[in-house]
């Protein structure tokens, strides 16, 4: 099921000396984003690859991403995970050494996921400041026993198994839409530049997110429907051509048609963090079903001039003005916290 790269593969520290925002090496003193990846949100490739050819394939394909990351001189992995849902703005993981365990709430039969990770707490604080500066409500979290989401744990264990590179994770707000998510992505780039990090950004998300709602034989796993499969492949075609901003522009339609994961907020965030253009070298390392959902491993490296023109259907935004009381009437604002029913 793998879809090949349109322009070859390979990250290295000798790649074109530009970052995702188009800055050149003359800004070496400031941070930059070296590249981005999209990875799946389910734990199967880590916990039970042997049960399904697709899960095994994903597990094995991670080796190519690991090799790219290993060859880069990245000093930060920055993740946005659709499996970490937030309500109060945006939460940023800042526990320097989170260690605990989680059991997937649905796939608990796959066993316990133990983790010991390494986070860049200083960067988390910088990201919070940069998010606040763009009007977002954001906070860092660092609590013993905090359940890091299975999507992030899986990604980090497979991308960075020895914790060589410190990481940071930001949550996916249930209410945020495109504008707010773009602002969160731009704040990520601000924070990378400000902190001087050489970052790789990672969106943890399914493509089509329609899952089988009954127990299946994992060996027979497939994309839930032909329609979802076709939409996934269309998106992956654009990815392979490095057209990240086009994927971002298409995300609403994709979500409507193929039950995209969390409105494809991970793509909005990734595209905004990487500079909102199509100038990437794209690689689709793998594409497989995980319990019916579309699970892809995609890589994007800055590659100036690759993408051609852009057609924008969506608005852009650089600052978040909040949603409190947006539709509240005088009556609601005056309503007490306790009503006589």
């Amino acid at each position: 099921m793998a879809i090949g790269s349109s322009r070859g593969t390979g990250v290295s520290s000798t790649q074109p000396a530009t970052d995702a925002s188009g800055a050149t090496d003359s800004t070496a003193a400031t941070g930059r984003i070296l590249g981005g990846y999209l990875v799946p949100n389910q734990p199967h490739p880590l916990l039970a690859p042997e049960q399904s050819p697709g899960w095994q394939s994903l597990h094995d394909s991670y080796a190519r991403l690991r090799a790219e990351i290993e060859a880069s001189d990245a000093d930060l992995l920055l993740l946005f995970s659709t499996r970490w849902v937030s309500i109060i703005g945006h939460q940023i993981q800042a526990d320097p050494e989170p260690h605990f365990w989680v059991v997937d709430e649905d796939f608990h039969e796959l066993g316990t996921l133990r983790y010991q990770l390494r986070m860049d707490a200083a960067f988390a604080e910088t990201y919070r400041e940069c998010a606040n500066a763009r009007g977002l409500h954001a906070r860092t979290v660092a609590y013993q026993g905090f359940p890091i989401d299975v999507g992030s744990i899986t990604a980090l264990k497979l991308l960075n198994p020895n914790n060589r590179i410190p990481a940071c994770i930001v949550s996916c707000n249930v209410y945020s839409d495109r504008q707010e998510t773009l602002v969160l992505g731009k704040a990520a780039l601000d924070a990378v530049k400000k902190s001087g990090r050489k970052a790789i950004v990672v969106g943890v998300s399914a493509l089509s997110n329609r899952m089988f709602t009954d127990y299946i034989d994992p060996a027979t796993d497939r994309i839930h429907s032909l329609k979802d499969d076709e939409w996934n492949r269309k998106l992956l075609e654009l990815f392979a051509a490095g057209r990240l901003e086009d994927v971002s522009q298409l995300s609403r339609e994709f979500s409507r048609q193929a039950n995209g994961d969390s409105k494809m907020k991970a793509i909005w965030w990734l595209a905004a963090a990487m500079g909102q253009n199509n100038d990437y070298r794209g690689t689709v390392f793998d594409y497989q079903p995980v319990y019916g959902t579309g699970a892809a491993l995609v890589g994007l490296l800055p590659y100036p001039g690759a993408g051609g023109g852009l057609e924008y259907d969506e608005d852009d935004s650089g600052f978040f003005h909040g949603d409190r009381n947006v539709i509240a009437t005088a009556e609601a604002s005056a309503a007490p916290a306790t009503l006589e029913p």
Binding site: W84, V85, S86, I87, I88, G89, Q91, W101, V102, V103, E105, D106, H108, E109, G111, T112, H137, R139, V141, Y143, Q144, G145, F146, P147, D149, N173, Y175, S176, R210, M211, F212, T213, D214, Y215, G322, D323, R324, I327, A328, T329, E331, A332, S333, A335, P336, A337, T338, L339, E340, P341
Partner: protein, 310 residues
């Protein structure tokens, strides 16, 4: 203090009382129990709801129970309905959404025999059912919060049922049908196993949150309903509940879910209605209040004190 009980499955069990018992972790936070690590200021934003829970606890003292069965929106499962299937869970539950408020050391005993009976009855009705057998599972904050606020001693075994995503994966109609069937399965299992059961539907009513929090989360100046639409829907639903118009409530449920972003879309209240046979019996509203903009009601149906007409 928990102590195991031998049940007599020769005696016909029954659902003694049913409750709407919402689970904002803010209420546990505000109560400052020793199991919860964060300390609240006592500023009082949620007094109405806490008083409602206190009134419900007093009311429940008049009845005897063998088990608490809770349907929780915060254990979300896409492959059908799951039940906790390990006798004892002990650990730390940190809420990934409100970790600043809820880091609770839980110690729960499970009525596995009843859980398995519900599982079997659900399967008989065509539902996808699953037993959760991993002892390291982190019990969700919905289960813990509703159980704590209703019966803080944790002196009864519980059964916890997950929230299947049928409403989201298919439609409100499919979700409603499944939850009524799950409710019926719960009722029959309770009867067959001879339990005297207290049922908790752990959900809010209207459910649009503010996405900001004040410096002191308990600051009453911050707290009110999200907007007038939500308040009107909540009032209407509570009016139906108090008048015992539960069939009408179910008829209107899909609209309520969509128009107020209601957490009833996680199925808990419809499950409770199904388990109680959709009684023509008014619920006693012990309290109503908002938590970061969402509408929450503490309601009790005293099935043991009513001539229930179906």
């Amino acid at each position: 203090m928990y102590s195991a009980v031998n049940h007599n499955s020769k005696t016909k069990g029954r659902i003694v009382r049913g409750c709407l018992a919402p689970h904002p972790p803010h209420l546990v936070f505000a109560a400052n129990p020793p199991q919860n690590e964060p300390q609240a200021s006592g500023a009082g934003a949620w007094q109405g709801l806490l008083a409602g829970y206190a009134a419900m606890r007093r009311s429940l003292e008049a009845a005897e129970f063998d088990v608490v069965i809770v349907h929780t929106p915060h254990w979300k499962t896409r492959r059908g309905h799951h039940l906790l299937g390990v006798e004892h869970f002990k650990g730390l539950s940190v809420d990934p959404i409100f970790p600043n408020l809820f880091r609770f050391n839980f110690d729960l005993h499970i009525d596995v025999e009843l859980a398995e009976a519900i599982h079997a009855e659900g399967e008989q009705r065509g539902l996808v059912m699953s037993m959760m057998r991993n002892p390291e599972f982190r019990v969700d904050y919905g289960t813990i919060t509703s159980c704590y606020l209703t019966r803080p001693a944790f002196d009864l075994p519980i059964v916890a049922i997950s929230s299947a995503r049928s409403y989201f994966d298919y439609s409100n109609e499919v979700g409603e049908r499944e939850m009524l069937a799950l409710g019926e399965a719960t009722k029959i299992a309770v009867e067959k196993t001879g339990r005297r059961a207290l049922l908790l539907a752990s959900c809010s009513l209207s459910h649009r949150h503010f996405t900001e929090e004040p410096e002191d989360p308990e600051d009453p100046a911050f707290e009110h309903i999200y907007n007038a639409n939500q308040a009107k829907w909540d009032r209407h639903v509570l009016d139906l509940i108090e008048r015992g118009c539960n069939r009408q409530l179910l008829d209107e449920m899909p609209d309520f879910m969509e128009q107020s972003a209601s957490e009833c879309k996680d199925g808990s209240l419809t499950w409770l209605m199904g388990a109680m046979d959709v009684p023509q019996l008014g619920g006693i509203v012990h309290g109503y209040g908002t938590v970061i903009g969402t509408g929450n009601a503490v309601v009790e149906w005293r099935l043991d004190q009513a001539e229930v007409q179906v």
